[in-house]
Amino acid sequence: MRAYSASSEEALRARNLLKDWAGEGFLTEAQYQRMEQETVCDLRRTNIFLRIVLFFFTVLIVTAAIALFFTTFLRRPSEQITGIFLLIFAPIAYAAAEFAVTQARLYRYGIEEALAVSSVAFLCIGMVFVLLESHYPRPAGMEALILAAGAIASLWIWYRFGLPYAFLAAMLFTVWLPSHWTSSHSAQHLAVAAIYGAGLIAIVAVRARYRFTYLDQTYSIAEALLWLGIYAAINLQLSSLELLPRLWNGIERPTDFSNPFYWTTWALTWCLPPAVLARGLRTKDRFVLAAGAIAAVLTLVTNKPYLGWPRHTWDAMFLGAFLIAVALFSRRWLAAGPSGIRHGFTAQRLSAKDKAWLSTGATAIGFVAPQAVTPPQPSPEFQFGGGDSGGGGASSDF
C-alpha cells in the first residue's frame, strides 16, 4: 500500500547510513565506493533546499492552474459549483502525485509532496463550500465530517508517501473534532487525549515489527507527535487560548474546569514526561526522547501558572541552570563509563549529521535573532530600574 517498494526505501536508508559512516571515517573511501554501488535504487531524490523550492513552485502552479480554470470557464460561480470543482480537482491533484511517484520515481522531491498536500487542501475547502457555505442555516454535523475527512486524507498521505507533516496535519484536524461532539471543555480535552492515545497504542503495536527497518523512523516520528499531542491535550495551561498572557502573568487559572479534573491534569503533566523519557531511553528512540524532553520543559514552564503562583524574573535563570546541569551531569556520567559508554548510551558524536545540524543551527540562530544576542540600541526613554517588589517587573522599561 505504500507508494515506494520496501527494497527501494531500504536501499536509500543503506545509502544514507553508508554516507554517514564514511564521513565519520568508519569506512574507507574504497569500501564506501564498493558498498554504495550495491545499494543503487531507482528513486529520484534531491537536496533539502531544492526540495523546498520545488514544493513552493508546485503549489504556485497548482493554485494558478485552478484559478485560471475558474476565471476562464466559470465567471462568478456559486459557492456550490466552486466546491464541486474543487472536489473534482482533489483527486486530480492526488492522481498527479501518484503519477509523479510511480512514473517519475520522485522521492521527497517537493513536487509530489505539494501535489499530495494540495489534494487534501482541495478536498477540505471543496467540502466547506459544498456542505457549509452554500447552505443557510449551516447543517449540523457537517463541520465534524469535513474535519474527519481531512484527518483521514492526511493519514492516508502519511501512510502512502511517508510524509511526517501529513501525520501532524491529521492530528491538527483531530483537535477540533470533539468541539462538535460536546460543549464540555473537560470532555473535549479527554476526547482529544483518548483519540491520540488510541493512535499511540496502534502505532506502538505496529512499529514493533519494523524495528531496524526503514519504517522505524516514520513510526518513531508519529509516536513522538502523538506523545506531544497527548501532553498538549492534558496540559490545560498549554491548550488554553489565553496561553501567553497566562504564562506571562502566572496568576490566573482556567475557570471552566472542575477542581478534580484540573488537579488530575496537573498531576498528569508531571507523570507523563518521565514516562515518555523512559520509553525513549528504553527503545533508544531519538524522536520520543525529544518529545519527552520538550514535555518536561513545558511542565516546568507551566507549573507556576497551573498552581496560580506569580512568575518571577529569575525563573528563566533557574530553568536554564537546570537544563545546563542536566546536560553536564549526563555527559560526565556517560563519559565515566568504559569507553565513554553506559547502558548503551554515549555522549560522543557518532554521526556527521550531528555536526552539520549544529553548524547550520549556529549560523541560523545566531543571525535570525540578533537583538537577543547583541547589545540592543536603546531608545531615548529606555531606562534600567523600576519593577519594585510586588510588581513582578511589569512596570519595567525593558
Binding site: 523550492v53 476562464t72 524532553a293 546536560a327 547583541t374 547589545p375
Partner: protein, 314 residues
C-alpha cells in the same frame, strides 16, 4: 533487505572486516546510542534561558541590587568563562580544530552573551561613551571575531556577524518600510564587506570552513536589500539589474560548489523580484494568473534539470 542483512553480506564477501561489521551493526541497532546532539541542544537552550532570565532580573531589580553587585557579578561570570576558555584551549591552528570538550563552545558562548549584557548595562547606567552606541557594537564585533577565530566557534562567529550588522545599522528583525533606503545602503555595504572578508580569509586559509557562514549571511542580507529596492515604485530598474546579477552569481556559485542553498536563494529571490516588476505591467486577472502558471512551470522545469544534473543526492 535491511541494513543488517547487507552488513552480513559485506562481511562474508570480505568488503568489511569482522570488527567493522560488529561496530556498524551495533550502530545500526543504536548500540551505542549517541546523545551528543541532544546534550548540545540542552546546553544551548539552557544558556539562552539563563541569559534571558539574568537580563530580565537585572533590568527589573537593578535599583534593589545596586550597580556594584550587578557589575561585579557580570564581570566575574565573564572573567571565569574566558579564563576557562583560554586555559583549556588547544594550540591555535588556522585549520578546523575540534572543540576540547562538549561544554567548551558553550562556555565561550555564555561569556560572549554576558559581555553583551554587561556592556548594555554599563552604557545605559553610566553613558560611558555618551551614547556612541555604534562603537560598542564595533568593539563587540571585533572581540567576537577574535574569539571565533581563536576558538574555532561558529556560534560566536554568528554573534560577531550580527554585531557587525548592528554596527552597519542593519536590524533584520525590525526592518521598517519607511527606512528602507537608509537600511538598503547599509545592508548592501554590510553584505559586500562580510562576503569579501569571508572570501579573503578563505583564500588565506584562515579557518576556511567558516566561509559558508559568511556567504549564507551575506547572501541573504544582500538579496533582502536588493529586493527592497526592486519593490520601490520608482527607480527600481537598477535594483532589478543588481538583483539579476546577484542571482546569477549565487546560481553559479551554488552549482559549481554543490551548495544548493545558493541555488534556492537565486530561484526564490530572483523569482519574487522579477515577478514583482512584471506583474505591475500586466493587466487583467487572467494574464496575471497565466503569468504565474507559465513562469511557475518554467521554474520547476529549470530546477528539475539542475537537480537531475547536479544535485541527485542530498
Amino acid at each position: 533487505m535491511t541494513i543488517l542483512n547487507r552488513l552480513d553480506q559485506w562481511k562474508e564477501s570480505g568488503t568489511i572486516t569482522p570488527e567493522q561489521h560488529a561496530y556498524l551493526a551495533g550502530l545500526s541497532r543504536g548500540d551505542p546510542f549517541s546523545v551528543f546532539f541532544e546534550l548540545n541542544v540542552l546546553l544551548y537552550a539552557g544558556i539562552l534561558a539563563f541569559i534571558a532570565g539574568l537580563g530580565w532580573t537585572i533590568t527589573t531589580w537593578s535599583h534593589q541590587l545596586g550597580d556594584v553587585l550587578i557589575l561585579v557579578a557580570l564581570s566575574a561570570m565573564f572573567a571565569v568563562c574566558f579564563w576557562y576558555c583560554f586555559s583549556r584551549a588547544p594550540v591555535w591552528t588556522p585549520a578546523e580544530s575540534p572543540s576540547p570538550s562538549l561544554i567548551f563552545d558553550y562556555v565561550l558562548y555564555f561569556g560572549c552573551l554576558t559581555w553583551s549584557l554587561e556592556l548594555t548595562y554599563l552604557e545605559n547606567r553610566f553613558h560611558v561613551l555618551s551614547g556612541q552606541w555604534d562603537l560598542y557594537l564595533l568593539a563587540t564585533a571585533v572581540l567576537f571575531f577574535f574569539l571565533a577565530y581563536r576558538f574555532d566557534n561558529r556560534f560566536v562567529l554568528s554573534l560577531a556577524l550580527s554585531s557587525l550588522a548592528g554596527w552597519f545599522g542593519v536590524t533584520i528583525s525590525h526592518w521598517q518600510s519607511h527606512q528602507d533606503a537608509t537600511y538598503r545602503e547599509y545592508a548592501i555595504l554590510y553584505s559586500l564587506t562580510a562576503g569579501a572578508a569571508g572570501v579573503i580569509l578563505y583564500l588565506r586559509r584562515l579557518k576556511p570552513h567558516f566561509l559558508g557562514t559568511y556567504l549564507n549571511i551575506a547572501a541573504n542580507v544582500l538579496f533582502w536589500a536588493l529586493l527592497s529596492g526592486v519593490f520601490e515604485s520608482r527607480g527600481y530598474g537598477i535594483w532589478l539589474l543588481a538583483l539579476l546579477m546577484a542571482c546569477a552569481a549565487s546560481l553559479a556559485w551554488g552549482i559549481s560548489r554543490r551548495q544548493f542553498s545558493f541555488v534556492a536563494y537565486a530561484a526564490v529571490y530572483g523569482y519574487i523580484g522579477v515577478s514583482s516588476v512584471l506583474v505591475r505591467e500586466i493587466h487583467g486577472d487572467d494574464a496575471i494568473i497565466g503569468y504565474f502558471l507559465i513562469t511557475g512551470i518554467a521554474m520547476v522545469v529549470v530546477l528539475v534539470v539542475i537537480a537531475r544534473r547536479f544535485a541527485r543526492e542530498s
